[in-house]
């Protein structure tokens, strides 16, 4: 459900009208609107935002690791609407056990590399991604460097 404090924002309202259950929370902080979305519904939500709310760009996709908390990962999407001159942040919480979320490459083709980067550095699976391979690290690399439990010192054995 949309929190009471976010009722005044047209995007949040429109999204609540589309699917109120998809919104799990949100906040407006330092001039930036963040909505927390149910990970299972990210693709229809993004599709709605793109086609109906003019968020024609997805500027960025990345992830956060809250190890050892559970759900461990948060996938973060930064959407941008040129027509409204607005930005919107979507967040999806996903579990640390086999972390996976549906890919939004079907909505914006440009998220292809962004999701590959999140897969490479965090080990998050993006379902239905056309080419989910490592992009920054070498192909045979073990582990995902941006995870909080990835060692920053020491030798490989």
């Amino acid at each position: 459900m949309l929190p009471e404090s976010l009722q005044q924002y047209p995007v949040a309202q429109a999204l609540a009208a589309f699917d109120a259950d998809a919104i799990l929370g949100g906040k407006f902080d330092r001039g930036e609107l963040t909505l927390e979305i149910d990970a299972a519904k990210i693709v229809p939500v993004c599709m709605h935002l793109k086609t109906e709310e003019k968020f024609i760009r997805c500027g960025d996709v990345t992830a956060l690791d809250y190890y050892p908390a559970e759900p461990r990962f948060v996938v973060v999407y930064h959407l941008h609407s040129l027509a409204r001159n607005e930005r919107l942040r979507l967040k999806c919480r996903i579990s640390g056990q086999n972390p996976a979320v549906d890919s939004v490459t079907g909505v914006w083709r440009g998220t292809n590399w962004f999701e590959r980067e999140a897969f490479d550095l965090f080990g998050i699976q993006f379902r239905n991604h056309p080419d989910l391979t490592r992009i920054m690290m070498p192909d045979g690399w073990e582990g995902h460097p941006l995870r909080k439990d990835y060692p920053v010192t020491g030798n490989r054995v």
Partner: protein, 418 residues
């Protein structure tokens, strides 16, 4: 090079070639076997370590696959191990042509988290230096792009002026490239004595130098032949694929973060966002040339209207105290010790700060957990989004046009791989 030898370059075809202009056109019929060509990662025209896997049918590119990551240095991981102020030096090393733009974006993000007010003088100084950075970057782009296409002399002209810009950076910060001049809370140092004369001399001289570059290129038949109607990509595709910056503006969309979401008091400056509608390599060249003129205009306004004031915010726990105060005041000494040894605490929260770097939209996503080190810093470099469009840009065109087309994107691989 059998189809397009050098004699055909001297008589440019101003009529568009159908299959390069129309992205929907089917590739020409196969003339036998296909071959795979590896371009890079050491190819000079890839400006760094970009590798392109090209599948060719004769001289037509059937499929292109960019391979990046050769310059991945784990900068985002390193941010998590350094205090906020220490990390400024990392931002220099992301994009070697625009260190100050990265400094600025990082500092604006941290200042937004801290909700810190920056004095007008520091803000204007930042604008002026970031515009110098834009000139620096565009000059290197123009010089190297021209050399890729075969115009050797432009390179020498461009680097002549770039040298003067680097000397101005050195005058301000002591460094030519890795400046770290913009810090959280303001600037690293007060502006050096006599900077006005140096900057004034430059802005008086520079517009005539742009005319010189234009004399060399704008009506040059070889240049036109190599760039006009080359590298077309539809605007809708670019927006969908995440392309930003001069590429978008050369397709007719006047989108520039300096205008649409002004930062660091850009709203007080009078400048235009140049656009073209041809959407080819030549149009991108024209957009960047005009951007250089506009940057020069902004620098002149900053020079003439520079407000008096402090170069750092009045925030004792965040900005290092003056040397003199440190020797005479106990609090100043304590603050200095705390900032240097421990850093300052940043309130919990997250921000996504966007600026217009010379290459396009540069975004810093910063998450703080209330400690002295960022929980996560994610950099969205403009080159990363732009390079994604390479297949769309060059598939169906000729091998000889690849250099011109990818050169017109103006990418820096450090910015892409981070």
């Amino acid at each position: 090079m059998s189809d397009r030898d050098t004699t055909s370059l001297l008589t440019p075809q101003l009529e568009p070639e159908m299959d390069t202009l129309n992205p929907e056109a089917a590739p020409p019929p196969s003339r036998g076997r296909q071959m795979t060509l590896n371009m890079g990662p050491q190819h000079p025209s890839t400006h760094g370590v970009l590798r392109l896997e090209l599948e060719l049918d004769g001289e037509t590119i059937v499929k292109a696959k960019p391979d990046i990551g050769y310059l991945h240095t784990g900068i985002e991981k390193e941010f998590e191990a350094k205090t906020y102020q220490q990390s400024v030096t990392l931002t220099d090393r992301i994009d070697y042509l625009a260190p100050l733009s990265n400094n600025l974006c990082y500092c604006l993000a941290a200042e937004k988290l801290l909700q810190l007010e920056i004095p007008d003088h520091a803000q204007w100084m930042r604008v002026m230096l970031v515009e110098f950075t834009r000139l620096n970057s565009h000059l290197v782009w123009l010089g190297t792009h021209a050399i890729d296409i075969g115009a050797m002399s432009v390179f020498l002209y461009c680097f002549r002026e770039r040298e003067e810009i680097l000397r101005i950076f050195e005058m301000f910060s002591g460094q030519r490239m890795m400046t770290s001049y913009i810090r959280i809370g303001g600037l690293a140092l007060a502006a050096p004595r006599g900077w006005q004369n140096r900057v004034k001399k430059f802005v008086d001289m520079f517009p005539s130098k742009i005319d010189e570059y234009e004399d060399l290129l704008t009506n040059n038949r070889i240049w036109i032949g190599r760039t006009r109607n080359v590298g077309y990509i539809a605007l809708e595709d670019m927006l969908d694929l995440g392309v930003t910056g001069p590429m978008i503006r050369a397709a007719g969309l006047p989108w520039d973060a300096r205008k649409t979401q002004p930062y660091s008091s850009y709203e007080k400056f009078d400048f235009e966002v140049p656009t073209r509608t041809e959407n080819d390599v030549y149009a991108r060249y024209q957009v960047r040339i005009e951007e250089m003129r506009q940057s020069c205009k902004i620098i002149r306004q900053a020079l003439e209207g520079m407000p008096e004031g402090n170069f750092q915010a009045d925030a004792p726990g965040i900005v290092l105290p003056e040397r003199e105060k440190m020797k005479t005041q106990m609090e100043a000494l304590i603050y200095h010790f705390k900032i240097v040894t421990e850093g300052f605490r940043v309130p919990e929260g997250e921000v996504y700060q966007v600026i217009e770097s010379p290459r396009g939209e540069l975004g810093y996503y910063m998450v703080s957990d209330g400690t002295t080190k960022p929980y996560r810093v994610h950099i969205h470099g403009p080159s990363f989004g732009n390079l994604q469009a390479v297949p769309k840009l060059i598939e169906g065109t000729q091998v000889a046009d690849v250099i011109a087309a990818i050169g017109s994107m103006d990418f820096v691989l450090g910015d892409c791989d981070r």
